[in-house]
């Protein structure tokens, strides 16, 4: 089945930012979306809202550039961040092509760590936009939806 990652259906994201506020609460026990590991970009002339989060690259630029190996793969193949090794240089912010790492208070970085396998954002996404799914299954739902639409034409 392979690694599970966060994925989003852009047709379902409502821009409510529940993911941000619940993520921040899980981390800090206070409501501070500024320091969440997920951020929603709103394109308000198009009505499209896009949550941005670490995509768990197979060959991460952030890991490559980190001078202290604070970003590395754990035993199950998930990218993790080691606070003790981190010096707060923020080179990883520059390296990530999606900007999915943000600066955080002290020398922390905000980067999605998948909540140790039970992502809080997914649990609190009422619109069902966010899911936690195997990489190989990301396109499954969309494939099925398209197939259904095509089938309807032939009915």
């Amino acid at each position: 089945m392979g690694k599970k990652v966060l994925t989003v259906d852009l047709n379902r994201c409502t821009g409510c930012r529940s993911c941000e506020v619940w993520c921040s609460f899980r981390k800090y026990r206070q409501c501070i979306p500024e320091n969440a590991n997920i951020r929603v970009v709103k394109m308000d002339r198009l009505g499209i809202h896009t949550p941005i989060f670490c995509l768990q690259c197979e060959e991460p630029f952030c890991r490559e550039i980190c001078p202290t190996h604070a970003l590395s793969f754990d035993s199950q193949g998930y990218l993790t961040w080691n606070k003790e090794r981190c010096v707060g240089c923020h080179a990883c912010l520059l390296a990530c092509p999606f900007g999915a790492i943000w600066a955080s208070p002290d020398k922390e970085i905000a980067r999605c760590d998948l909540c140790k396998g039970d992502p809080s954002c997914v649990r609190h996404c009422d619109a069902g936009a966010l899911s936690y799914t195997a990489v190989s299954e990301i396109e499954n739902r969309k494939n099925v939806l398209l197939a259904k639409k095509l089938a309807k034409q032939l009915e």
Partner: protein, 638 residues
């Protein structure tokens, strides 16, 4: 402090002075926040002698203690002012995510006073607050200004609350536009700000909201989310928002049509603007306000016809009525265009619709002709004329200068017969619920502190156990929609409940009685703030807040006479449809008497009594009213 940020931002535009004051914790506890604090501040800052034309009127923005937290549907923003169109208590409340940003920047309230010499806007960047020149932005549509400000300040995440050209040109019902699509519309707060040369507020906040009892709060929020989502009508709201009520109203003969001459549209015409039409031809996807599971807004696109290309957040029930059925306009594309235009250019779609509906009725009856309208024909449903008048109204020219006054003042210009056709209460056009066959709604409209309104009470029970109903109302008669029994008590209860919601920062749509058990608000607020609230203490705060709003109006001369409705609802029974023959005539006075008794006010005069005010801790209010001779007369005046 937990929940509250503990800071009030004061901006004196005349002196260009910005100060930050502490929020008094006792005051916060007693008045909760947002609407409650705003009402008390307005009462203290605005004496009865201050004219509604004065640029000295304060405008008070507020975000309640639960705004920006895990509590579902907690993005509400409040504004309180002396209304330039009604001359009495004015306020408005909206969604979006501006209010959370204000809390993250560190503020519970922002008070704007005085008048700037040239147009300015306020930039709140955490605790760095400055006034910036807005002369290049003045006169432009709000959506463009929103983008230009974000570009100028260099951050797409900035949230804005802006006025539009309509308010700047003098329309009396100018609105405040929040992040393009949500609005503070009722009672004309945009107009009050325009008179101060104040374009609006841009805010960015990087702070957070600490919670007093995090584990319990989290659990309560999960419980409330589950409760809302488990309700039978929840799914309908995620699909259609309040538009879903339009089909119901049409089917049950409760749809205001042609300035309330009818209560139901012709079926074959309604079919052009039905829920099915919206879902199949216009709806694209769901949109939600801050942390809200209801996602009752939706993105629309107009794909064909003369308004093809229009996109935005959809017209809700009120818009479908105000610019649709009320005007016998069954062109959905036109309604979408008007939704966008009124939002972007900054005027209240409902007051605009109400005024146009009056104009179309007096035109039909020959009281006005094309001579008065500058050649514009006002036959029912003429979408061309509606569009032309929208532009004229925004620019305050031609017949638009009359429409821009709002329905009461416009109607007054054309004589007493014309005034009878103005569907307004206390100077503001009525929201769009047919009241002749809905006693509690009729009563709610008549008693609402800001006039013309259903949201001060929103007296709807959509579910809930019999135990809950009996505990809250003492009787289950409140469930019998057509009976006047128990409605006085119910409306007073709902007004207190809505005052609580508007003050703590939660959305009335999400917290409908039956979707949640209102008694859960007490532990919710307690866990967030650390202040011990039982439900009766919380509802007493609501009662306190509502009595302040009432006293504000009483000092300006209002009494029982103003707690009424347009004659049409007493004297012209519903003409046709499932509820033909219904009228409020025989039952209204009795309901109003019951309401006053439930409130502890004198039924004859509609005035408050000293003992009740002191019981709520409003001793200074009681003293003011006594000095001005505005307490209830007779034995109650001790």
């Amino acid at each position: 402090m937990f929940g509250w940020k503990g800071k009030i931002l004061k901006v004196d535009l005349t002196a260009a002075a910005i100060t930050i004051e502490d929020l008094n914790p006792q005051r916060a506890e007693d008045f909760l926040g947002a609407a409650g604090l705003g009402a008390k501040m307005l009462y203290e800052l605005v004496p009865p002698s201050l004219s509604a034309e004065s640029p000295d009127i304060p405008v008070i923005f507020g975000a309640g203690p639960l705004v920006g937290t895990l509590a579902p549907s907690s993005g509400r923003l409040q504004v309180t002012h002396l209304s330039p169109i009604t001359g009495i208590f004015g306020d408005s409340n909206c969604g979006g995510d501006f209010a959370p940003e204000l809390k993250y920047a560190g503020f519970d309230q922002v008070i704007i006073t005085g008048r700037a010499k040239t147009p300015v806007y306020l930039w709140i960047d955490d605790n760095s607050v400055t006034l910036r020149d807005a002369s290049r932005l003045w006169g432009k549509p709000a959506w463009d200004v929103d983008e230009q400000i974000k570009e100028e300040l260099g951050d797409y995440r900035i949230k804005t609350a802006l006025i539009g050209p309509a308010a700047q040109n003098g329309v009396l019902y100018g609105i405040v536009i929040i992040n393009k699509y949500r609005t503070l519309a009722k009672t004309g707060p945009g107009t009050t700000l325009a008179r101060k040369n104040f374009l609006g507020i841009a805010v960015r906040g990087s702070g957070g909201i600490p919670i007093a009892r995090p584990e319990e709060f989290e659990q309560k929020c999960e419980q409330l989310r589950a409760s809302m989502k488990a309700s039978p009508t929840y799914a309908d709201y995620t699909v259609m928002g309040t538009l879903g009520l339009a089909d119901q109203y049409q089917a049950t003969g409760r749809l205001p049509t042609k300035n309330r001459l009818e209560a139901q549209a012709p079926n074959e015409l309604y079919a052009r603007i039905s829920n099915e039409v919206f879902r199949k031809e216009y709806k694209v996807r769901d949109v939600a306000c801050f942390n809200c599971p209801v996602r009752c807004s939706h993105w629309f696109e107009v794909r064909k016809g003369r308004y093809a290309g229009q996109k935005g957040e959809k017209p809700e029930l009120v818009a479908l009525e105000a610019c649709g059925t009320l005007l016998a306009n069954y062109d959905f594309g036109s309604i979408c265009f008007l939704q966008n235009a009124t939002t972007n250019l900054g005027l209240d779609i409902m007051e605009f619709g109400n005024t146009l509906a009056w104009a179309m009725e007096v035109y039909e009856k020959g009281i006005i002709t094309t001579a008065e309208t500058g050649g514009i024909p006002l036959d029912w449903g003429n979408a061309d004329s509606i569009e032309e008048l929208l532009h004229q109204t925004v620019e305050m020219r031609g017949f638009g200068k009359i429409i821009g006054l709002g329905v009461k003042r416009a109607a007054q210009l054309f004589g007493s017969e014309s005034e009878k056709m103005a569907m307004q209460v206390k100077g503001y056009g009525m929201s769009l619920v047919e009241v002749r066959n809905a006693p509690s709604w009729g009563l709610a409209f008549a008693t609402a502190s800001r006039g013309g309104d259903h949201l001060k009470a929103l007296p709807a029970v959509v579910g809930g156990s019999e135990e809950m109903i009996l505990d809250l109302f003492g009787t289950n008669k409140v469930l019998d929609h057509l009976s006047p029994e128990g409605k006085g008590n119910a409306v007073a209860w709902f007004e207190n409940y809505c005052a609580v919601l508007d003050s703590i920062g939660l959305c009335k749509l999400g917290y409908k009685l039956g979707w949640v058990d209102p008694r859960e608000l007490a532990p919710l607020l307690t866990f967030a703030t650390g202040v011990d609230y039982g439900f009766s203490r919380l509802m007493k705060c609501g009662e306190r807040i509502y009595n302040v709003e009432k006293a504000f109006n009483v000092r300006r001369g209002l009494g029982r006479k103003e707690d009424t409705l347009p004659r049409r609802f007493f004297e012209e029974p519903v003409k046709a449809g499932p509820r033909q023959g219904e009228t409020l005539g025989p039952i209204f006075d009795r309901m109003l008497d019951d309401y006053y008794l439930a409130r502890g006010w004198d039924p004859a005069s509609g005035l408050q009594e000293s003992r009740g005010l002191k019981d709520l801790g409003l001793d200074e209010v009681a003293a003011d009213l006594k000095k001005e001779g505005r307490l209830a007369p007779g034995k109650m005046a001790t």
